[in-house]
């Protein structure tokens, strides 16, 4: 008993020592789901940000320090994590990762005047009516419309089935704009079936309906876990349409025990493809593979870009560690960054980004296709 107690105590001390921050650096906070079913997103963001912070610090200009907390994707815990990070001296946020949690944190951040640049919270409610919140990723409505557009432009299919999670804002948001755009472009939606987060193990009904209606393409605006089940079950019933996912599908190749050959030929609308040949992406992917193993997903790439965007903005606004580290310095930093954010342009690995004053990002989406267990740029 004594031994265990001593171990726990020493562990706590060690942790305490680790969370001490450098005085001359600007601390950036990230909260996201690092445990639980959405952990892939949170971990991707944290890993991507870590690489970017290291690179930025190596440049010798403004120095960044990173602090991150687990929020399990829950708004209440995210607000707790946010407050905890401010206590720890964070001057700005490069989070929150998931949309629901981010909307709750954004309201707090708006009242307290903390600058937020979220890599991956894609719901429009995150930035709505708030001047201090910016996004690196596309919004959900944007993704739905862009998907329909891509399918029609590239002539992938005439008849489309949709399976989406009607218990998830992300999913319904994308579906609604997809439907609108599809109707506009004359893309025929032949089957729409839903499931809920509590009931996501058996998709035979949805798949049978899609198959019977003769859909050539199944649009899946859902997260990767149920998507992997759909791919498995479609394979079992010998149904082989084109599967088309959006950024939530990203991460499907990293699921443990998932046979990646099932995902062969799956389309993914995302702003990042790991096999892009430009130097920046290659460098990032190499570092990521070395340090964390596995191919980085879009979340990691968005976080990487978010850190660079913050670096640009801090340089532009002349934010220094001195301003950031004064008591409640985040409020000053916030006003300085809000002003410069719509003026900067960042060449990132997810495209060339610029921002509206409303917080939305402007960049072009690209599609990737899964080939031999890796994301490959489509056409």
């Amino acid at each position: 008993m004594k031994k265990i107690f001593a171990m726990v105590l020493s562990l706590m001390l060690a942790m305490g020592a680790m969370s001490a921050f450098a005085e001359d650096a600007i601390t950036i906070g990230i909260s996201g789901p690092l445990t639980g079913p959405y952990a892939m997103y949170g971990l991707g963001v944290v890993h991507g940000a870590e690489i970017a912070v290291e690179e930025v610090n190596a440049l010798g200009g403004i120095q960044f320090a990173l602090t991150y907390e687990d929020d399990e994707g829950d708004p209440e815990k995210a607000v707790n994590a946010f407050n905890k990070m401010l206590d720890d001296g964070a001057a700005m946020m490069a989070g929150t990762v998931t949309s629901g949690a981010c909307a709750a944190v954004a309201a707090e951040a708006y009242d307290m005047r903390v600058f937020m640049l979220t890599p991956s919270a894609s719901s429009p409610t995150v930035t709505e009516d708030r001047d201090n919140v910016f996004q690196v990723c596309f919004t959900d409505p944007g993704q739905g419309a862009a998907s329909a557009d891509y399918i029609v432009q590239n002539n992938l299919a005439k008849k489309v089935a949709v399976i989406y999670n009607n218990g998830l804002d992300y999913s319904t948001g994308i579906y609604q704009t997809f439907e609108e755009k599809a109707n506009e472009l004359g893309l025929e939606i032949v089957s729409v079936t839903t499931f809920s987060s509590d009931n996501n193990a058996d998709f035979s009904v949805q798949l049978t309906k899609a198959k019977d209606s003769g859909a050539e393409l199944v649009f899946l605006p859902i997260y990767y876990t149920p998507a992997s089940m759909i791919l498995k079950q479609a394979d079992a019933m010998n149904y082989d349409p084109i599967f088309f996912g959006v950024d939530g599908m990203d991460g499907i190749l990293s699921i443990e025990g998932f046979d990646t050959s099932l995902a062969e030929g799956v389309y993914l609308l995302t702003a990042f493809s790991a096999d892009a040949q430009d130097e920046k992406t290659q460098n990032f992917v190499k570092k990521y593979e070395e340090r964390f193993g596995g191919t980085p997903n879009q979340f990691a790439a968005d976080a990487y870009d978010a850190i660079y965007a913050l670096y640009e903005a801090c340089n532009e606004a002349e934010v220094t560690a001195e301003i950031a580290n004064q008591r409640r310095g985040f409020a000053d930093v916030c006003e300085m960054l809000i002003e410069v954010m719509p003026t900067i342009t960042v060449e990132g690995i997810t495209g060339t980004m610029s921002w509206e004053a409303t917080g939305e990002v402007t960049k072009t989406p690209t599609a990737v296709i899964i080939h031999e267990g890796a994301y490959v740029g489509a056409k």
């Binding site: 687990d70 829950d74 954004a106 009242d111 319904t172």
Partner: protein
Amino acid sequence: MNQKHKMTITHLFTHALEICESFLRQPRIMAEKIYQKHKMTITHLFTYALVICAYFACQSMIKAEKMTLSLEGQLVPICAYIVLAVSLNLTVGISGELSLGHAGFMYVGAITGVIASMWMRYAFTEESAFFLFFENMNIDFALVRMLISLIVAGVFAGIVGFIIGIPVLRLRGDYLAIVTLAFGEIIRNIMTCLYVAVNKKTGALNFTFNNSDIPSKDFKLFIKGPTGITGNSPKIATFVIGIGLVLFTLLIVQNLINSRTGRAIKACRDNRIAAESMGLNVTKYKMIAFVTSACLAGMAGALYAANFSSVVPSKFSIDTSILILVFVVLGGLGNILGSVISATVLTLLPELLREFDDYRMLVYVVVLILTMLITNSPIVKSLIGAIKEGAKKLFARKNTENGANS
């Protein structure tokens, strides 16, 4: 002196001592009796005192800017959890029915409370008579909105509790647990289809199911099906209101327990057949406890929702029901003070364990198990008993002194 005299003197002496002692003992026994008779009241007063002291401690810390933002942000949720735990204790501890759908009532309260507060925000402009009435009385309109939304939430959750209670309270034991569990999930599933918008100019509400078509640009959509409640800012819940709600809950629950009705509820719990044969309407008394509990849970839900700009439906799943049940069980069934303390500690604990990173929830569970084991171990129990005995003696002695003076 012969033997006989010696005997008489000793006898007399002992006798005198006894008389003296009995004089002294009399007030002491009286004090003991008073303590036994008012044991409940004293414990209840202690609960109020504890909450009020905690309030002043927190307020002075905030004033002195000594409180961390992390703790400050948790004050209102803690109040909501205390109310939830105390109200569930009424059902589980006092009425003896295992309810697993408490989060469902919380959700009903959250939704109706937010609808009420959003309606008031847009229905009463700054020129309206209702608004000016409070303005003239120097009362913040946000406070009025919060209080009214609490009342609305309580009423609606109470009504839902009543409707659920009619079939449910005729069931016993496990069946009740299963039905309440199902009810919680049904509420959540219905609410994930609900879309509510408010007209920004007139305050007119628009309810739709399963589609988010907003009639016109004037409407603001604030309950968005699976997204849950969004755009509910600026937040109107404050720590003062939270503590007020906690005190209100304690007042209702503790007085109910101590009343004739409360004794009837406990009688139905302890022996249903005996209670029935005494002429008690068992369903009625169980219903009183159940509806009161639902009402208070609804209010807690409204408070919780008013504190966050975004609340997702998954928050009100079975996990939260179980979490509240854990508060109640750990605090002790029927022990109101225990519920207050355990709700506070167990809400703060995961945040305090952040040092452990990914192992946080593991440590949390270990702490839970240890607490269960320790509070149940005979050594600790006898130790607590000894402390209680000591406190009682101290209390009795003080009363003796007071008694002697008067």
